[in-house]
């Protein structure tokens, strides 16, 4: 690492001050506000997050109460999107589903980051055998899609929402290993890292104070994309009965329950699906918009 910095021909390119570098890496969040897809994505994500957060404290209707009288009501001012087969307000169910979906995805992506980022940084810092081991480890986890992990956990421990969190979380680890490793490797030649070493800072301190802040933008962008994938995965697992269990509501579970009634109440199958599409689209567009701005090769093409 040290040798490369001193002898590299690219010395000029790497002679940014760290502050400049950091400013550059956060600049793009400002630029992002001019990207249409980012604004649309952020708006959709904001909508879903708001509904999910409100659902933690308040729902328009009580969805734990079943009422045969109110079955299959058409949309009205009382029931914004109508009611389902048990007389529950569909809009309230969707809000509650947003809450489940967001909580599961946040925890799952959190697991991926908390375990994946340190591993990736270690692989980048130590290289050699660590690198090989982590890459093999990535291959290995990749062979276990989250559905299979959820199947395994459920077959041994029975059904629970935590299975979905763990299964999606495990699948997120290699993604963050890769991003953190790649980001850290791109910083290796920087002179401020060398300066930090000369100042007597240890490996851990350099990583925490200099490497991590400089790859934070990469990690945030990836987290946004992973959130969208986690929402998709959670819906799939809940649809299969491997995720949310009663009394929790989930979009996937709503879809599962709607299937037998699709011929006379298709809205029960359409609405939760639209909720999934809107949230996945939102986080995806937001992440994509940010990533396009991060990638200088792409940026040149845009301008």
């Amino acid at each position: 690492m040290v040798k490369k910095t001193v002898s590299s021909d690219k010395r000029k390119d790497t002679r940014f001050s760290e502050l400049e570098d950091r400013a550059r890496s956060w600049q793009f969040f400002k630029v992002a506000l001019h990207s249409k897809s980012f604004i649309l994505g952020a708006a959709l994500s904001f909508l879903i997050i708001t509904l999910g957060v409100i659902a933690i404290f308040w729902l328009p209707h009580d969805i734990s109460k079943l009422s045969v009288m109110n079955r299959f009501k058409a949309p009205s001012f009382v029931y914004l999107l109508g009611t389902d087969q048990y007389g529950r307000d569909i809009f309230s169910m969707l809000m509650s589903g947003a809450r489940t979906s967001l909580i599961v995805s946040l925890f799952a992506v959190g697991i991926g980051m908390v375990i994946g980022v340190p591993l990736g940084l270690l692989a980048a810092g130590r290289r050699g055998i660590y690198d090989i081991i982590f890459m093999r480890f990535n291959d290995l986890i990749f062979a276990f899609p989250s559905v299979l992990i959820a199947i395994l956990i459920t077959s041994v421990y029975g059904q629970a929402l935590i299975n979905a969190v763990i299964a999606i979380g495990i699948f997120n680890i290699p993604v963050f290993v890769r991003v953190a490793r790649g980001g850290a490797l791109s910083l290796l030649g920087k002179e401020y890292l060398l300066a930090a070493r000369l100042a007597g800072k240890g490996r851990l301190r350099i990583t925490l104070e200099h490497v991590l802040p400089n790859i934070a933008n990469l990690l945030i962008v990836q987290a946004s994309i992973q959130l969208s994938m986690a929402i998709l995965a959670e819906a799939g697992l809940s649809y299969l009965g491997l995720g949310a269990q009663p009394p929790l509501t989930s979009w996937g579970k709503m879809l599962n329950e709607s299937q037998t009634m699709i011929s006379f109440a298709p809205q029960l199958a359409i609405l939760p699906g639209l909720a999934i599409v809107i949230s996945v689209l939102g986080f995806n567009l937001m992440g994509d918009g940010l990533r396009d701005l991060l990638d200088p090769k792409l940026r040149r093409r845009v301008s």
Binding site: F144, Y239, V277
Partner: protein
Amino acid sequence: MLRYVLLRLSSLVVTLFIASILLFLFIEVLPGDPAQLMLGMNADPQSILALRHNLGLDQPLFWRYIHWITQMLQGDFGISYTYDVSVGELIRERLAVSIPLALFALFLSIGIGLPLGVIAARNRGRWLDRVLMSTLQIGMAIPNFWLGLVLIFVCAVSLGLLPSGGFTAWNEDFFAAFRALILPSLALALPQSAIIARVMRSSLIDKLGEDYVRTARAKGLSKNRCLWHHGVRNALIPVLTILGLQFSFLIAGTVIIESVFYLPGLGRLVFQAISQRDLIVVKGVVMLLVTMTITISFIIDIAYALVDPRLRSA
């Protein structure tokens, strides 16, 4: 090249080996006593002992693993505890549904995705490209099992064109079996094709900006010939990588889609096994699916090296 293949092959074997150990530990060691788990809490000690003996649980861990691996290498996945038939037989039956489903979906997603990507790249920046890209962005966000439900509602319930679910065996009625797989494979393929189209578009645009394409144009080659001879062929390489990555999702998707359309494939088998706590079936099916994913990624790596010699040194 031979050295690269051997290197990759050895890493394939090592990955498979570790995967099998993990799976074995998870199913046979973590639950404590699999026999107890399979029979439930109120089973009498006598039958638990009998099942323990049947499963070979009274033998040391190491021998159980060796036994399992050698048996599996011979195609013997053990005897299903609930069906009382060989798991290998069960799996073979179910593969007749799952493999055609996965392959149809794969071909459909390539058949739809690649042309869309080429069209978008050809018209880059124009309205057609913009409309296509927005559609693809939405397509990527659609969960395949929901698309399955929508297809059931539109094509089966409303229009009555295709069956809404279920499956007739291939040798009973080939055409009916084929019809039963059309909607499921479409549901699997459409979201995948959106991803393939996007990768194809950006890869093709990338390649069309290369110097050798400009040279070819300057030489007098028509725009279309440039696109096909210099663009598409080179642009396919990143698409190949994505296909390898997507295969893992395709297998996971097959498991879900089979539940949507009530298809008697591997996914359904494993779900019945979970509710009946038949760990032997779960172990066999998961190991098979994992092996398939790892092997496919190996094959794609080799294909990749065949196309692009620079990668062989890696």
